[in-house]
Every structure is written in structure tokens, then in C-alpha cells.
Symmetry: C2
């Protein structure tokens, strides 16, 4: 019942751990990187199954060393307690690498400047890029966890209609759904790579607030409740003829799914209904194409073609402001690879886990369209957020 601190540092079972290590090493080899040192929580969780304060040092040859600052009492092969990064040198000793991968896309400049002298004469490589590619292809336990998060997220969504009461604002409904998520075991934390994007638990957009542009690089916006956090619900009353788009946190176990459904009150105009059906059609078409080997940008182009034929471009991925992508990898963080965007250079791989979210903003009505998370298999695509896709009416 209670979650207790395990003392062994590595929490994945042996096979899973070896597979993860081997995937990192094969990407290191590709980029001629002799060793990498990881400090980012998401990457430490990827390799060990837990978050700790410290560093994972992974040489291409030889055993990893885990330099731990906190918590106390961790044990296992390669665990070395340190107080500061300068103590790392002593443990690496003779076998100083000629190339060192550091997470330069997420670690602060001053942190990297402090790590570099520990590897004198070593050429700097981008460990963020290596780990993004490693994490894009999910190992077995990640797929199991993602399926579990998907199941629990679907259960949450199935109960949303029961929460609605007439006279509710978008904020009232948002906090009721947050509570539902938490009762289902959602961890709450919404991990996003980089610290320029912020979101609390998830995004709910009602009516014309869907058209409020946000500073953040999410698919949809919303003014938010305060200019210090300008995204999502803004106090809009939920009224007949408008939609409520729910895109709530799917992190139940460290790996998160991403799912959006649309709810509505009263009768919607034809344009909104047409756009919602177009989103469903795009999902069908892209799932037929989304096989290992295809270029991600071809998926974006196919969707764009469907939208253009339907004459829905002005509303596609926003109206006053448009998002530049319609899908993205998900896993430990919400913005993983591959990215489904016009200039994406990503190739779809087996065991990519991809959230597709072709959406539309219809002025005065609100946002429509759905989002599902899919696992790419060699010969088919598996939807791990299976639930009714049509608009769900609160009042029927």
C-alpha cells in the first residue's frame, strides 16, 4: 500500500536495464561518443527507474557509475556518493574519455561549464540529442507503463460527463477533473523538456477562450486565470453552443499518455461538427500510414492535404495563432521524438509512441478534434487511449 524507498538504485529488472543501457550505447557508438554523463531527471529515470540527485556516468565500454548526492542510503553496483561534481574525477581515473556527451540542451550553461573541466581534453558531444533518440523508441517496460497510463486516462475521461453541472465555468470543471485524475492515481507532475513551457495538470478550453493565443509551444492556447500562467481555462462560463476541449495529464506511473476529447452543451454549428469529423478522419488516414520507415513530415503533409480539401485551413491548429506541429512522441516527457511537423527530419520507428492531435479552433464555438496516443508496431498501429471519439454532449 505505502510506497517505500527501495535501497537498490536500479529499479528496472535486469533485462529491461540491459536493454536500456544497450540502446544508449548503440546511439553513443553512432555519434562516436566514448562516455556520457547524465544529470537530467528524465534521463536518470530512463536509465535507473528512479529520480535521484546526481549523475549517471555511462562509458561505451565498462560499467556505469552512479554518482549520488541525494537521497542517502542507495546501494548497488557502481553507486558512489559524492558531495560535488568535482569528486567525479577520482572515480573515473585513468580511463578518461576522448569524447564526453553532456546534456547541453537541458543543463544550464554554468552547470556544463563546471562539468567540462572534469573531462580535460575531451571533445564535447550532445548527450541531449543522443538521449532524445534513445527515448523515442520505447523498451518493453515503457510500453507496459504507457498502456497502463492510457487505461487509467480513459477511465478518467469516461467519468467527465458526470462532473458537469449547469452554471459551471471552465475553471470549475477543470478542478473537478483534476480531482478525478488524482483519485485515479495521476501523479500530477507534467514533465516537459526545457523549462520555458509550463502547465498545471492539463489544459481545458471552453468556447472562445480556445482562440486566445498562448506564449507556450502547445498545440492549443487559452488565456489562463492569470498573466503569470497564460494557458488554459480563464473563467469562461460553459454555455450552449460551445465546446469544452479536455487535454488532461496522463502521467500515472512515470510514463505519460496524451489524450483529448471534446464535450459540448446544446447544439453546435455545422462548421464545428465538420472540423471534428475531419480530425477523426485524419487519425484514420495517418494510422494507415504510420509504419516504421516513413518520414514524419509525410504524415504532416497528408493531414494538411485532408484539411485543405475540406476547406478548414483557417481553423486548423488554431485560428488567431497556429501551432507548427500536429503530433509528438510521448513518454517520460510530453515533448519527445518524433515530431510530426512540416520540416521534421524524424523517421517513424517501431515502438515510437506518438500522440496525434489534429485540432481546430472555430471562433465563438471553441476547439474541436481529438488526440490519441499510439504505439507504432512493425505491421500495425495500436491505440492506447481507446474511447468514443465523437463529441460528447453534457446534456444528452
Amino acid at each position: 500500500m505505502e510506497n517505500i524507498l527501495e535501497h537498490r538504485l536500479i529499479l528496472w529488472d535486469r533485462d529491461e536495464y540491459c536493454q536500456r543501457l544497450s540502446s544508449i550505447r548503440s546511439h553513443m557508438l553512432e555519434s562516436s561518443t566514448e562516455a556520457i554523463i547524465l544529470a537530467d531527471n528524465a534521463n536518470l529515470y530512463y536509465i535507473t527507474g528512479r529520480v535521484f540527485a546526481g549523475y549517471a556516468y555511462i562509458p561505451a565500454k565498462g560499467e556505469p557509475i552512479y554518482f549520488v548526492r541525494r537521497p542517502v542510503e542507495l546501494t548497488g553496483d557502481g553507486v558512489v556518493y559524492i558531495r560535488k561534481p568535482e569528486e567525479i574525477t577520482a572515480s573515473i581515473g585513468m580511463s578518461a574519455p576522448a569524447t564526453i556527451g553532456i546534456e547541453i540542451d537541458v543543463l544550464p550553461y554554468s552547470t556544463v561549464q563546471r562539468l567540462l573541466p572534469l573531462f580535460p581534453d575531451a571533445e564535447l558531444k550532445n548527450a541531449s540529442a543522443i538521449m532524445r533518440n534513445v527515448r523515442a523508441v520505447k523498451p518493453p517496460m515503457a510500453l507496459r507503463k504507457l498502456r497502463e497510463s492510457g487505461e487509467r486516462q480513459v477511465r478518467v475521461y469516461s467519468r467527465i460527463p458526470g462532473l458537469f453541472q449547469e452554471g459551471m465555468s471552465d475553471y470549475d470543471l477543470q478542478i473537478a477533473i483534476e480531482n478525478l485524475c488524482r483519485r485515479e492515481g495521476c501523479l500530477g507532475q507534467f514533465r516537459i523538456s526545457g523549462d520555458s513551457m509550463e502547465l498545471y495538470m492539463g489544459n481545458l478550453l471552453a468556447g472562445r477562450n480556445a482562440d486566445a493565443p498562448s506564449p507556450y509551444d502547445f498545440a492549443m492556447g487559452g488565456a489562463g486565470m492569470d498573466p503569470s500562467l497564460p494557458v488554459g481555462a480563464n473563467g469562461t462560463l460553459i454555455t450552449p453552443g460551445t465546446t469544452v476541449m479536455v487535454d488532461m495529464n496522463g502521467n500515472f506511473n512515470g510514463y505519460m499518455t496524451d489524450m483529448t476529447r471534446v464535450f459540448a452543451l446544446g447544439k453546435l454549428d455545422q462548421l464545428a461538427l465538420k472540423a471534428h469529423q475531419c480530425s477523426i478522419d485524419i487519425h484514420r488516414s495517418l494510422c494507415d500510414m504510420m509504419h516504421p520507415g516513413i518520414q514524419a513530415k509525410l504524415l504532416w503533409e497528408k493531414a494538411d492535404e485532408i484539411v485543405s480539401e475540406a476547406g478548414l485551413k483557417p481553423y486548423y491548429m488554431g485560428h488567431r495563432q497556429h501551432a507548427g506541429f500536429i503530433g509528438h512522441g510521448v513518454g517520460i516527457e510530453i515533448n519527445e521524438l518524433p515530431v510530426i511537423a512540416p520540416r521534421s527530419r524524424d523517421i517513424i520507428r517501431e515502438h515510437n509512441v506518438i500522440a496525434l492531435e489534429p485540432k481546430f479552433v472555430i471562433p465563438d464555438t471553441g476547439a474541436v478534434g481529438i488526440e490519441n496516443t499510439y504505439i507504432v508496431h512493425s505491421d500495425h498501429v495500436e491505440c492506447i487511449t481507446p474511447a468514443p471519439e465523437e463529441i460528447i454532449y453534457f446534456d444528452r
Copy 2:
């Protein structure tokens, strides 16, 4: 009622904006910095009153330029829309600075590497350090917002006893309090400088889980519900003779207060009661000393002396694992200056806003002690989280 996107970029009134700008410039002068460029959300919010995607370029002389990527439609003096940072050069033009401050403690290494060539030949200065010092002293609107957050946080805490039901786990109570916070208008987002610390909404520690060491650099720990987020409630049943420490999010308007109270069921042992009283005594003593000009480390030493005399050192700031500080500045983020720690070089200033949190972990009983947020004035200290400080019993 609805929060609408304002089109003018600067949301502070004229006096407040000028005071903030002038504070930044005086710290730039002190460190011989001719210009700074800010990209961190917390710093952009400090200067403009909103979060946007882009950069604030502030020369020591001349007018600021706001380079905006998102959202669309912002207006005002100095607003320039850009797609990528390389477009900044054209606008700065002739007046290239000889020294440039960049937020090297928070911006990723690769982001800084991309910004540096925009300022050729300029000497790099640490804008993170400048802004930490600027933000340590709160301007008038910040103090008003902090008082408002404090009032609302106090109102939340006063309603916690009404939430408790027998048979609840720490997690059940945590999510009930989260919902209470949100109904009171808490924004949820818990801003922490740096991305190595993570917390969802706040920390609740019941019974022996208070002694579970966490990887994060918070005052208290907890195993959490999952190894991917090892902090806080872990599913412990709330039982007689144990405490529940509540340290919940106080961000209601962009500026956050920090407040902790202890709740309990049944009779507690003498050691826990003594330690709780010791925490209250420390608050009294430190408030008497916490005037402008005093060294922060002297506050830590005074507290340490009180704890030693009471024979409570083994339980102070943790038991299996100890935290290295007993207080910290709060404002836009939870970990601002000054830091009340043994090796702190900070000096207490007028209009510092400081959360003091001398706490104890009593094995098997749980955590005790209180946390309040104080504004430092020239001749007195103002508590902005005023509420009963003794242990609050659920069953009396």
C-alpha cells in the same frame, strides 16, 4: 470574470515598471554590465508582469526592447516580433554592448551558445546572479501580491481540519487539500528555479514517511507515490499518535507565499510536542533579529544554538537525511534569495520576503514545526501567513 489577453505587453503600472527597471539597472551598474538579455519565464514576468516566449533586452542606457515570438498581437513601446534569436542583432544595431548579461544559471548551454554570437566581442556576465539579487528585494506590487497570496493561503489552511475523515491516507488528504487550494484560486504551478527539483502542488507528510529521504533539495522529504516523483505523500494511513505536516502551494497570483502547519490525530509523544514548541521559539527569536543589515548566517547560527540547547539536533531539519538550510526568499519562485544557511553570504535587506521553516522529524511520530513567510521592514518583521501555530488536532 474571464481573464482576457491584454494586448499591451507591460502589465505593471508605470511606477511599478520604472521601479523594477531601475532596480535591474542599478544591479547592472554594480556588476559593470552594459546590457542584459532575459529569456527565463520568472525574469520576464518580473519585468513585464506577464510570461511570453521571447527575450527582454535591457541596456543600462536607452530603452528596453522586447523580442516576442509568442503570443501574437502584443503591443507597446519596444515590442519587436521575431521568429528566431538571430533576428535580435538587427534591432540592437550600432549600440552593441561591450558586456552582455545572460541567464547562464538557468538557460541551457546550447541556448547560451546560440545567443553569444549575437553580441560579438562582448564579455559574458551572469544575468542570473543579477536577477537573483534584484528579485530578493520586493517592489510595492510584489508585496501587495504576496500579502494577498498569504491571506488566501491562510484561508485554505483554516479549512483543512474540516476535510479530515477517519481512515484517510496521506494521499487522500493531500488531494482533498489540493482541491481546496484550487477552489480558493491557487494557480497550481509551483515555480522552482532550475529544473532538478519537482513538486506537484505541495508536500504533505504523514507519520514515518516524514523520515523518507528525498533526492530533491527541499527542507523535508517523503517517498512519494512513485519512484518517478520521490517526494511527499506515499499512501501512509493517518493513524493516532502521528503527525501530518502540510506545506502546500501558496501561488495565487504569480507571487507565492510559503506556509506549513502540523495536524495530528490522538495524543503525541513529549518529544514531538517539545520539538514543535522549539520551532515556534526559533521563529520568535529570528523575527527579533531579522532586520536589514544582519548576516543571514547569523540567523541560522541562532536557530542552531536554540536547537542544541534543547537537545533536539538529531531530529532537526530531518533525521535520516538533513536539509542544509532553514529559510529562503520566496516570490515568483520558491527558492529565491536570501538563503538562511550556515555558509550563506547573504545580508538581510529591507523588503526581503523570507520563509522560515525550522522543522524536525521525530521517528515514528512524523514531522513537526511551522513555516511562515515574513516581509522584512526597516524596523520590524511582518508575518503574512498569520494563523494559529500550535499543532491542530483533527479529533478535538
